[in-house]
């Protein structure tokens, strides 16, 4: 009796965790986003100035002047926060099928995603000022640039979907977009310090 109860209880607690709360979780979204491989020209030009080792050399050799670097970091911070706010707005609007709000904020994200190409010049890492951008960004510049392109592509895809009236498609593109945020943040963003 005891062991049966134990087994039943464990099973039930686990079962309780089998519904579906609403979130833009990306199931296998990663595969979808990189089909469009046309890189926005700006991304390549400004983020990946050189490849591999050479890139970090450049960072050491020609750092951005500090005041200019801090300025970029500030724009980056504000921009990322604006993307987060717009993303939250889209998420809630999708919950209530408020297409107008989705549309406006998806456009905002797509626009900011293009600006993001200029947010990570060499010399704007944590050694210069307060930032959660990890030094790995400039050590793995190619990978970072690829992830940034993935984000830009996904943001554009959401904007296109939001132009229509298919909420399911918007949800799918929103999940894809979230996966590109997460892919980059998991690897290149440090935890928040309180």
């Amino acid at each position: 009796m005891r062991s049966k109860l134990l087994a039943a209880s464990c099973a039930c607690v686990l079962l309780a965790a089998c519904g579906g709360w609403k979130s833009g979780q990306a199931n296998s979204a990663q595969g979808n986003i990189s089909k469009d491989n046309r890189p926005p020209a700006t991304a390549k030009a400004s983020v990946v100035t050189n490849n591999g080792m050479a890139n970090s050399m450049v960072m050491l050799a020609v750092p951005l002047p500090k005041d200019r670097a801090l300025q970029v970091m500030h724009v980056r911070h504000e921009g990322m926060e604006a993307i987060g706010d717009a993303n939250k707005a889209v998420h809630r609007a999708l919950g209530s099928s408020d297409i107008g709000t989705v549309r406006a904020n998806a456009a905002k994200i797509a626009q900011l995603s293009q600006q993001a190409s200029t947010w990570f010049p060499a010399g704007t890492g944590p050694d210069v000022g307060k930032t959660r951008a990890k030094p790995d960004i400039w050590q793995s510049a190619d990978d970072f640039a690829a992830k940034l392109r993935g984000f830009q592509t996904a943001a554009r895809a959401l904007q296109l979907a939001a132009g229509g009236n298919n909420v399911a498609a918007m949800n799918a593109r929103f999940a894809d977009l979230g996966a590109t945020c997460k892919a980059c943040h998991d690897k290149y963003r440090a935890e928040e310090n309180h």
Partner: protein
């Protein structure tokens, strides 16, 4: 602090914690650890599921506190200040939570419940994940809830530290608490009234209610939410 064996009488090994209480305790401990690990390792989805499982456990434990075994019932162990004072002076005999431990139980349950409640309405900083009830509040409220959720974990950590220190303190005074929470059995003074076990099917009903309410919340608590 009092020993539970007065007068040097021969103590008997008896059941003091039923299986549901022990399962609740260890699952809660494991899920709190899991919640901490997942949120620091980019598994926000698992973190939310973990919180939902903790919610189920909490609802179960509260219900079991009314219809469970005698040592699980709030009515049998939650006492007033005078009982706590008596206990402090060594005038208490019984099994289960002592009057001071009862305060610890209530505070821990309340702290975890607050943490779960904050998590339910929170959202992550990128807007990728929404707590199941985040749609019922504004973005600002969700963001504030997440901030407090993060800070509140320190309160929970402090309470866990206090909990462990208390266990160590009792251990140094010769009273083992951990083993009974695993086996359910402890040495009890003769003459102490034994635990009245609850019904196993009642435990399953409590669990079913806990799961039901949790699933309703996961669904966004209709008709109030989505």
């Amino acid at each position: 602090m009092p020993r539970q064996v007065p007068g040097g009488g021969k103590s008997l090994r008896q059941v003091v914690w039923d299986l549901p209480v022990r399962l609740f305790h260890w699952l809660l401990a494991a899920l709190i650890a899991f919640s901490w690990w997942t949120v620091h390792n980019h598994h926000t989805d698992w973190h939310i599921w973990s919180g939902c499982a903790i919610l189920t456990l909490l609802i179960f434990r509260i219900l079991w506190g009314f219809v469970g075994s005698s040592t699980a019932r709030f009515a049998s162990f939650v006492r007033g200040p005078s009982a706590i004072a008596d206990y402090w002076r060594g005038r208490w005999a019984g099994i289960g939570h002592n009057p001071l431990g009862a305060v610890s139980v209530l505070v821990l349950l309340a702290a975890v419940a607050i943490q779960v409640g904050l998590g339910l309405i929170a959202e992550d900083e990128d807007g990728i994940y929404l707590g199941p009830l985040a749609g019922l509040v504004s973005t600002d409220t969700s963001d504030k809830a997440r901030d407090i959720h993060e800070l509140w974990f320190d309160v929970i950590l402090a309470l866990i530290a206090l909990h462990l220190l208390a266990i160590l303190y009792y251990r140094l005074r010769g009273k083992k608490l951990t083993v009974p929470m695993i086996t359910g059995r402890a040495d009890v003074a003769p003459g102490t009234s034994p635990m009245r076990p609850g019904k196993w099917w009642m435990a399953l009903i409590c669990l079913a209610i806990g799961i039901g309410i949790t699933r309703w919340i996961i669904a966004g608590a209709p008709p109030f939410g989505s």
